[in-house]
Symmetry: C3
Subunit: 478 residues, 3 copies
């Protein structure tokens, strides 16, 4: 190469206006028209994993890697599958030294091809192009240049967390929180007159309902301390949970989130529950007793929801931490939670027998077992006024599965029983891309119904705006 040769041109990174719309031209035209009506609507995010202290402190993000790569197990698991050790990506570590952050970023860019055809690639394109103004497809060659470009942006005031939150038009953002949390960050945000968004906590009591898990006794003690109550016996334990729910509600919470191996909700007689609780507090509970207790408590959680109005979301059926060595080295939520077949019809019958038509109950069913959408979840939501179909989530949060979901669930339960989109993400900057993807796919789906003369255009428009705004607000009581 001589000095007069032009530099090798990187492939462009472009965000086409029609991306994700159906290819067929009439349908695409309709989709485009529909999408324009919701494109710029504010974002309602009723379930996610953003850290509220990030918004409270509003410090500049440290670097591209710690913002976009290191904490996102959607990204790191794919690099791991393709041969990159998690240590090279800083998984499970705190802040990374500049050299390591940059090296991890290079690995990301050099492996850009492994994301082809995945939603991760789609979100990344949207983030890099739409937020940071990147115009080149990442590669080994331009990795450092892109790192510098993003890092430069991150140093600007417009790229601080609060500015981005406003720029993303996020009206409501739910976090996920431990019931012992003092919610000081949420309270400080709510008290700050300069902060416009609504950031609400979510009550996530899983660990307090599993007496066989390590640390359960200490956790219950912590919870009782937070509530300033006595959880010495089963009744005190129930009252403690109720008190903490009230505390969460007082600080803006609208929902409680539950994830266990299954959603079986068989109740126990109170005496039996009390007996198991006593044994568990004495450190003398069997795995079978603990499971029976947890199933009972899931039903109790529904009872409490009928009393206090917290929306109840459930998402069972994931075998957590499949690879012990990765768990030991890097902790949980590092990409090796793997779905298993799940059952809802029989599992939820005890709960729904008691509370299924209670006007206060909103029960949103999520799954990572796509079979259950048409077989169990849609039929349940098509009868019980309390049951809503949670959006495709986690492994299923991608165009292929979303399209299958839209078609099969809405045929059975109707559009009105859907929760609206849930981003469920730890990756702050991917929130707008994820919601935009959902809007585009919903527009495309409704456009197909119009193109097949199954729905009129005005109905499709109304249906789309309900999916984007009214339904998440109604289902999550926002």
């Amino acid at each position: 190469m001589t000095v007069t040769d032009p530099l090798p041109r990187a492939a462009p990174l472009t965000l086409h206006d029609d991306r994700l719309f159906p290819a067929e031209s009439r349908t695409r035209d309709i989709a485009r028209e529909l999408y324009e009506t919701v494109r710029n609507l504010p974002i309602i995010s009723p379930h996610g994993h953003v850290d509220p202290t990030m918004l409270l402190s509003d410090e500049a993000f440290a670097d591209p890697t710690s913002l976009l790569l290191q904490p996102d197990h959607y990204v790191t698991r794919m690099l791991h599958a393709n041969g990159t050790p998690l240590t090279e990506l800083g998984v499970g570590e705190g802040p990374l030294p500049e050299a390591k952050a940059r090296k991890a970023w290079r690995t990301l860019c050099a492996n850009w091809a492994v994301f082809r055809g995945t939603p991760v690639r789609y979100w990344f394109d949207s983030e890099l192009g739409g937020i940071f103004g990147v115009t080149e497809r990442p590669s080994a060659e331009n990795a450092d240049r892109l790192y510098d470009q993003v890092a430069e942006r991150l140093a600007e005031p417009e790229f601080r967390p609060r500015a981005l939150l406003a720029h993303f038009r996020i009206d409501v953002l739910a976090t996920t929180d431990d019931p012992s949390d003092d919610l000081s960050a949420h309270r400080a945000l709510a008290a700050d007159p300069t902060f416009g968004a609504r950031v609400v906590p979510t009550f996530r009591p899983d660990r307090y309902l599993e007496p066989f898990e390590d640390g359960w006794n200490a956790a219950v003690d912590r919870l009782a301390a937070a509530a300033d109550m006595d959880a010495g016996d089963y009744n005190g334990y129930l009252r403690t949970l109720e008190a903490r729910r009230r505390f969460f509600i007082a600080n803006g919470a609208v929902s409680a989130d539950h994830s266990h191996d299954d959603v079986i909700t068989t109740g126990l007689e109170p005496e039996e529950a009390a007996r198991i609780y006593r044994a568990a507090r004495a450190g003398d509970v069997t795995a079978a007793q603990a499971t029976a207790f947890r199933r009972h408590m899931l039903s109790e959680m529904a009872r409490m929801s009928c009393d206090d109005g917290l929306v109840m979301t459930v998402h069972p059926g994931v075998l957590r931490n499949h690879h012990p060595a990765t768990m030991a080295g890097f902790g949980s939520d590092t990409g090796h939670d793997i779905p298993v077949a799940t059952e809802y019809t029989r599992a939820l019958q005890p709960l729904l027998t008691r509370y299924g038509t209670h006007p206060n109950l909103h029960l949103v069913l999520f799954t990572v077992d796509a079979d259950t959408f048409s077989r169990e979840i849609a039929p349940l939501a098509g009868f019980y006024p309390s049951v809503y179909v949670g959006a495709p989530w986690w492994f299923l949060d991608n165009p292929a599965e979303i399209r299958t979901f839209q078609r099969s669930v809405s045929e059975i339960a109707g559009l009105s029983r859907l929760s609206g989109f849930i981003d469920d993400t730890r990756a702050f900057c991917s929130i707008p891309a994820r919601h935009d993807m959902s809007r585009r796919l919903d527009a495309g789906f409704l456009a197909e119904l119009v193109a097949e003369h199954r729905l009129d255009l005005d109905e499709a428009m109304d249906g789309l705006s309900r999916l984007v705004t009214d339904q998440p607000r109604a289902v999550f009581k926002l």
Copy 2:
């Protein structure tokens, strides 16, 4: 609004000629051409739930609500899910007073949006537009006007049951009947020279095969009385069932229909079956014995089908009456039967080992667990000459699931192993809409094969007419 303002225009209700065809223009052209060849063919309905006395008495339908809303759990469950108590819809009640019928109709129209994107909406549009000449989309505003319009039609002779049956071009209509039924309505219809259609009963012995269910003993007594036989011991019971099957066949029946929790067909030694039968008649049977007996009897039913030729249809995998309070207040078939995962491969092996290649056996497998189509049902029908794939049914009777079914089942078992369309409905006026939907979807599916150069046009035409006419006739021995 002044008197000179035009009345607010309701949105139009239109039935587009191309509805449900693929949007892609070449494929749509082919679909249209295919559809025209079957559009007006008579309807063969080998499985459904129309009441034959309705055709016998031929009285005018009472009102729009009792015809189109009250008895149709596809409709009432969705209104219930969206907040309407079933009492307001007259579910489980007899004839409704005019005021209540009209109020329920208003609820239906005011909630029109909840049906968007569902087949219920599609059928309703076809019925209202195609049969009753409605040209406005239902709404709270025009509900009374539409009620009056439909009610007016129903008073006309052309809208009596027999006239509609002829207008719908229904050649064969199978009802579903209790084995103790005297089939007097069927006999009277068959004897009536002015009645042109073939209305055949279907032998549905479920309750007689479940000794643990309440009322089993009384039911068996009733059956024996109807047969004028002695069901005092197991052999008498078998002979009684055989006699009633003969009686049904003599009165036109072509099939026996079976729906239990599972389709396990493990046989018992005759002595063991006799022993359980004796215990059951003495009121002293366990649930496990009763289940073993029922599984044995399902295999016996196949043996009888080999002997007498009745087609055997099975549709397991539904947890009936999921919500006890609804069951207590409104009875069964009120929208809260919910599917569960189902197994066919191992379950049917005992039956198919014995009878799978018997020339008299036609075994049609239905499912509401869509996974089983490609995994189990199509492979079984792709080997056993006795096994046919039942059309997508109940929760799966919608365009999305039908399309998935067409593609995956026909690839594995071939088009020739399909039963043809089954409407399975209680909603008399939806029969033509349901068959028309199926014809449009079959035309669309075959058009895709032609457009992808996998099938020639003449083959697609032949295949479509077989699906609409020849296959249901052959599979159901009509």
Copy 3:
């Protein structure tokens, strides 16, 4: 008909250049462009069932029936389902007399309609039209003429096995072999300087791992004799298996293939394994012990793969020989193996806990339970560097299921985790048609991503060529 009437024209058999491409015109244009880049690439076939002695002897194929019909259970099962006894097709028989071969061929042609819409029809069209120059659609009328035409071709030197192998551009062909096999055919082929392709054996030890099966003891004796080792105790048995694997590797093998009822991989303590082995060798093993032993041995096979590098392929979840009478009359692999629901997440955890990140392990997961693709297999392959997603296979090797697979698996695991196409066939002449079908469908899938602006054209081209060539070579270490 007078002598001046033209002969009735048979329908033409044509292979349209655009077959299997998406109908939408922009997408089709892209698909065509993509396909052209891989259309003529050599075939890599890393898993199949062609008999190597056929290539060694290179004798002319006997007749059209024994080549295209008799040994192919994809074809014979469908004819059987539609009423043809397997005896009429020569299933399980040796060479057929001319009259019987011709009669079977007539049956095939007369039943051409039963293959409509299936991949069998697609492959047949490709074989008849693309290899043998047939230009008429088979029918009862032209059956003899087509038989003669194909038979004539088969007598020509260009249609001998080796000539066809070269004509098909098959670079690598893996066979499936018994671990006791002396691999003399493979060695002879490798030693033949006139033979250009690479024909490699595959180690298929199923029967040696199932101590409860009839003939296990004799099989182990045979294996020990082949290895010239002593399999008297458990350690000797392990060493014998290791020795035979080394022998296979020395003769070109790159993979070991495993098919059992499940893929549970729970290990046993060595003493317990030794104890069960001792009992089994003494003919005194229970079914439960044998199952525990086999599950342990599947894990041991992974250990050996880490040591010797053989790629490990697994395909559980088929109930073999569903119909005992057919098994007794015609043997196994005659069309009545039926899938059952299968589990991978929990089943493979013991194996992956030990070896999941071992650099030598390549574990390719196949399934005939399509649900497991998005629920279990893709998530596993999206984390573990050792796990690859096997191509849709057997009942799922058809356009409908392949398209579902492409979309849902690549969204979750990325394109890079796919094995590339596997033909898995006994039907030699269908190999190019099967690979061509896969290339067309991959081109169509990637074209959709381009048309939806999710992937740039250069990336789609690169991705397609990786799927066709690089990935099978890398995954199977070729």
